[in-house]
Amino acid sequence: MILQTETSQSNKTSSLSEKSIAEITDKKTLKQETVSNLKEKTIDLFIKMSELDQLTPKPARQIEQLRNQIIVSNKELVLHIVNKEYSKRVPQNVVPDLYQEGMLGMIKAISRFDVTRGVAFSTYAVIWIRQYVNTFLLTQTYSVRTPSNLVTLYGKIKRATEDLRVKFGREPEIKEIASFIEKPTRMVELAIYAVNTQSTSSLDEIHNQSQSGTNDSGVNLYNSLDADELEGVTAETTIDSENNYLLFKESFNTLSTREKLLIMIRYGVVSSTEEYFAIFGRDQ
């Protein structure tokens, strides 16, 4: 009796597993079909768009509609890439920004995609989406902006440092790193300096805290800056700067109206000629 129940249970589980496997395979085939349908649909839209693009005059509205259709039908691609490759690496509040950047990348890919090459659009778009998202992450995520080429170079420097450390058994010098990655030493120094200055700290952050374990509160950055500035400012320096200003004003007044106007606009003091004449008057 017991044996019979066991065998019936095993039959049930095997039938269940077969059923679930069949369901999964069905889902997979369905997904593959939808993906292939989407690819065909996108290619059709691109062909239509290129046909319309050759007409004179160009039907701008229809082209725009087709472009929007391509964007809407392929937006899942952006979501997929961002969710799979980036969402775990960045804070959750940044992910919507990455979707936006990815969409911009896809729009760029649409404008540059060539149907005659015989490649699927998604293959081409993925590169642009990654490019836009990576550029965003490199340039926008820090409060101090660093050129993306220096951040990329810094990544290379880090990898080279690891390799050379293993090779030499000591910390490599900058010259060695530079020759290893085939870049000038100055560029390597610049990249290290640029990336190290990206980190920022709060003005209220307490530093110089006593190490003796007493209850001294330490000095925050704001107070220390203030103190440093006050140290430098004396009656003498104030008079000096006032004298400098008066001398500067005298020299500035010797310039022609045209020179004064252009310098003022150049340095953003006034935004237009009218504003300049409203402040200084026409007869100078």
Binding site: Y245, F248, S251, F252, R266, Y267, V270
Partner: protein, 101 residues
């Protein structure tokens, strides 16, 4: 990279306007010129100020090299907009206190 840029005479400002925009703006308002002329006028003006200040402070005429050094120096470049804003503020304040006819 910095060495290459520092040899050029261009001045980089954050709030300012580029020379093409300046040229367009002043051309429309009675000072016809192109961007190169605008650039030359601005540089000449700045050099005149620097040279004048140098003469007043040291009672000697600066060499072209010295003048370039002063114009490109960080101190000069930082204090220039401050003084310009101050001149502007003074002029505005003066206008407010002037009696209207």
């Amino acid at each position: 990279m910095n060495e290459v840029y520092s040899k050029k005479e261009y001045v980089t400002v954050e709030d300012g306007v580029d020379f093409r925009t300046i040229a367009k703006e002043v051309t429309l308002n009675g000072f016809p010129m192109n961007h190169a002329t605008a650039r030359n006028i601005v540089f000449e003006g700045i050099k005149t100020i620097a040279s004048d200040l140098y003469e007043k402070n040291t009672s000697s005429v600066p060499s072209e090299e010295k003048l370039n050094e002063i114009v490109n120096s960080r101190y000069f470049q930082e204090s220039l907009p401050d003084f310009l804003f101050k001149i502007c503020e003074e002029s505005l304040a003066k206008k407010k206190t002037e009696p209207k006819l």
